[in-house]
């Protein structure tokens, strides 16, 4: 129906609920801001309560619309998270590679997700603030040039890639090191999650049920969803929210 720019041919699109978890100040909100707005604000005020954002991710054969829940602040009461990971298909558990305690906290979140969240949830472990250890990256290439100690005193890195990766493998998590500041690996995380969501758990139009669907079904959505914006059959209601 929409006559959007010809570049985007209609692809099946599905919504994926994603929740961000991790210790305060590891960069959860910054990762979301980078992904959604391709922006970084060094002195961003801390999230109050929680935030809800959406962003689309184009895969070769489909569009994933992420519904992102960025949690904050209330980890101390441990009561906020359950309402975010309820029915979440994916979770991004973030730690700060310059802060070992944040990995410990991340492991707690992973354990809680595995215990409480939907059985098929896709979890990505993300070590953020990679830019703070830029040199460390270069060194990895020429690891034993001059130094055999793994942890350079000169670098801010406190959690080694190897340790975190080993843990992620053990728990079957996706794993990335990112920088919300430079944007390094940020979209890769979301694309990897989009690709890892099992096709069967995506709500998409059944094959063959393509054209000629009713007004009550928003284009490209599955054929169970009732669209509350489609009040009254007739009438050209535009779905514009503004």
């Amino acid at each position: 129906m929409s006559d959007g720019a010809g570049a985007t041919a209609p692809k099946p699109s599905s919504s994926v609920k994603l929740v961000l978890l991790g210790e305060a100040a590891v960069g959860k909100s910054s990762l979301v801001l980078r992904f959604v707005n391709n922006d970084f604000q060094p002195n961003k005020e801390p999230t109050i309560g929680a935030a809800f954002l959406t962003q689309k991710c184009q895969l070769p054969n489909r569009t994933i619309k992420f519904e992102i829940w960025d949690t904050a602040g209330q980890e101390r009461f441990a009561s906020l998270a359950p309402m975010y990971y309820r029915n979440a298909q994916s979770a991004l558990v973030v730690y700060d590679i310059t802060k070992p305690s944040s990995l410990v906290k991340a492991k707690h979140w992973v354990a809680e997700l595995q215990r409480q969240a939907s059985p098929g949830i896709v979890i990505a472990l993300v070590g953020n603030k990679l830019d703070l250890c830029e040199d460390d990256n270069a060194e990895a290439e020429q690891a034993d040039a001059e130094n055999e100690t793994e942890e350079e005193p000169s670098t801010a890195r406190k959690v080694s890639t190897k340790e975190a990766k080993a843990y992620a493998d053990e728990e079957s998590l996706l794993f990335f090191e990112t920088s919300a500041k430079t944007g390094h690996n940020v979209s890769e995380v979301f694309t990897a999650i989009a690709n890892a969501i099992p096709e069967t758990s995506l709500k998409g139009p059944r094959s063959g049920a393509g054209g000629g669907t009713q007004a009550a079904i928003s284009a490209g959505q599955d054929n169970n969803r009732v669209n509350l914006n489609a009040r009254g059959e007739a009438g050209p209601k535009e779905g514009c929210a503004c």
């Binding site: 809800f52 309820r86 169970n224 779905g239 929210a241």
Partner: protein, 505 residues
């Protein structure tokens, strides 16, 4: 570390059931400091959705006879079919693959809750599915389930015309009634004298409808009582609400259900919206005592001993017994007997498309007629796996009856069995797991609180469809707290960062 009593709260909300959560949503943009607590360690209160293991725990907690006026649930038990080792066939799935609704109420498409969810910008986090077909199950006089018959209730004028079981005269009478009922508010004289009389006598005397034609009409009223105990003043508005709801969101259906566990999901989304606005959420804490001070905020004692101060306290009566002068209202409590059954088949025949090319419903309503018409019927809400409440190839049956005697559970089991036998599947579907319980509904309309700063919200009514009165009651509470204009109730702008469907990429 910050603690809860560092903050001077404006509103403390007790319990995360639907009424309290809707209040939290309504207050989410008010700038008020909100503390929302729940004595349970899960969200949803009386409207929660449970995984299998949560249901296990829940049933243990509510296994006993009702202890006092604060207990809503009692007599809970779980039965699980023995696993006979046949691989793949009829096996329970993963505990968290289930989201069993304590509140599977359907929402009429015309319910005022739906536009409120749209205008409060929470609708985009919810998914609604159609409740499509309605059925009647009749058991023969000897009551044997194996001969039960399933018939579809005609869902509107076209259906009535095509119904081969009706003769012309019956069709005419029915059409006359349908014309009346959708405009019943303007036709007081037609039925005034029947308001307190049984609905069936209105149908018979005024519209010449023979008793045999009453059950399908009565079904649409979702009356939990027997037909003789269902007065016109109850049935007429409800039948009208359903019929005028048909087509509102698409042809062929007049009611919807929220995906993922009934009303629990709406409550969760409402709480999330409040958290986004800065509301603080704490599970596992109830309120044990409230101390009123004349010239300052009240002191609220939480169950773990912590004391917080707040201007307002709101909750349902069960959560506020300490500050209600009398929880017992003159009207007697209503009891319902309920069961939740996980069935080993998708029962696809219960979920035909709502119309050609229309949505596939995830819900169906089945009214199992009692053999003795003086008995109340059993209502069964069937939810397919598309509701997100169970794994594929299974479905959930929510059965309820207004009986609250020792035979109640047997009556429900018999009704579920009759339904499963009557759907006509070649191998009879099995109940893999079931939970039974009783639920008490205390009439709370005027449970007076001891203080002006304590607001009593109404619990949900025993109605099988969401009662819009709940929302009206929440609006009154919101107005007391905010002094807001009622026109502004639950009307919010989209929050920054939540782009709807614009193409950014």
């Amino acid at each position: 570390m910050e603690s809860l009593n560092d903050t001077q709260w404006d509103v403390v909300i007790s319990g995360t059931g639907l009424p309290q959560s809707l209040l939290a949503l309504a207050l989410s943009r008010s700038g008020k400091k909100i503390l929302h607590v729940d004595r349970n360690d899960y969200y949803g209160g009386d409207e929660a959705a449970l995984s299998l293991s949560e249901a296990d725990e829940w049933a243990k907690k509510h296994a006993s006879e009702p202890t006092d006026t604060t207990s809503t649930f009692s007599h809970a038990s779980i039965a699980q079919a023995p696993t006979d080792g046949e691989p793949g066939k009829g096996k329970l799935g993963h505990s968290r693959g289930y989201s069993l609704a304590l509140a599977p109420q359907l929402l009429h498409s015309k319910s005022s809750l739906l536009p409120a969810l749209v205008s409060s910008k929470t609708n985009d986090q919810l998914e609604f599915q159609a409740v499509g077909s309605w059925f009647l199950v009749n058991t023969p006089p000897d009551g044997s389930a194996s001969q039960a018959k399933l018939t579809r209730v005609p869902g509107g004028r076209e259906d009535v015309f095509q119904d081969a079981t009706l003769d012309l005269k019956a069709k005419r009478s029915l059409m006359k009634f349908l014309r009346f009922v959708v405009n019943y508010e303007e036709q007081g004289d037609t039925w005034e004298e029947y308001r307190d009389k049984p609905f069936s006598s209105l149908l018979e005397d005024k519209f010449g409808l023979v008793p045999a034609s009453h059950p399908p009409i009565l079904a649409l009223a979702l009356s939990t009582k027997s037909s003789t105990d269902t007065p016109s003043k109850f049935a007429v508005p409800r039948v009208a609400k359903y019929l005028t709801s048909i087509g509102v969101f698409g042809p062929g259906f007049g009611a919807v259900l929220p995906k993922w566990g009934g009303l629990a999901e709406i409550g969760q989304v409402a709480c999330r919206a409040c958290a986004v606005g800065g509301g603080v959420y704490v599970l596992g804490k109830g309120i044990s005592e409230v101390q009123q001070n004349d010239d300052s905020d009240m002191k609220i004692y939480l169950t773990d001993g912590e004391v917080v101060s707040s201007k307002w306290l709101a909750g349902v009566p069960q959560d506020l017994t300490h500050s209600l002068s009398a929880i017992q209202s003159p009207e007697p409590d209503v009891w319902m007997t309920k069961s939740i059954s996980i069935v080993s088949s998708p029962l696809a025949s219960l979920f035909p498309p709502t119309s050609e090319g229309g949505v596939t419903p995830a819900g169906a309503v089945i009214v199992v007629q009692p053999v003795d018409t003086a008995e109340p019927p059993v209502h069964v809400f069937a939810h397919s796996s598309e509701s997100g409440e169970c794994p594929k190839d299974q479905c959930i049956l929510y059965a309820s009856s207004a009986r609250a005697d020792a035979q109640g559970f047997g009556v429900l089991n018999h009704a579920v069995e009759a339904l499963l036998q009557s759907v006509g599947e070649s191998t009879e579907p099995q109940v893999l797991w079931s939970m039974h319980y009783r639920q008490r509904y205390t009439s709370t309309h005027d449970a007076p609180s001891t203080s002006d700063s304590v607001i009593t919200l109404q619990s949900l009514s025993p109605d099988l469809a969401f009662d819009d009165g709940t929302l009206g009651n929440v609006r009154l509470a919101w107005q007391r707290i905010t002094d807001g204009d009622q026109e502004a109730f639950l009307k919010f702008e989209a929050r920054e960062g939540t782009m709807e469907d614009d193409e950014l990429t």
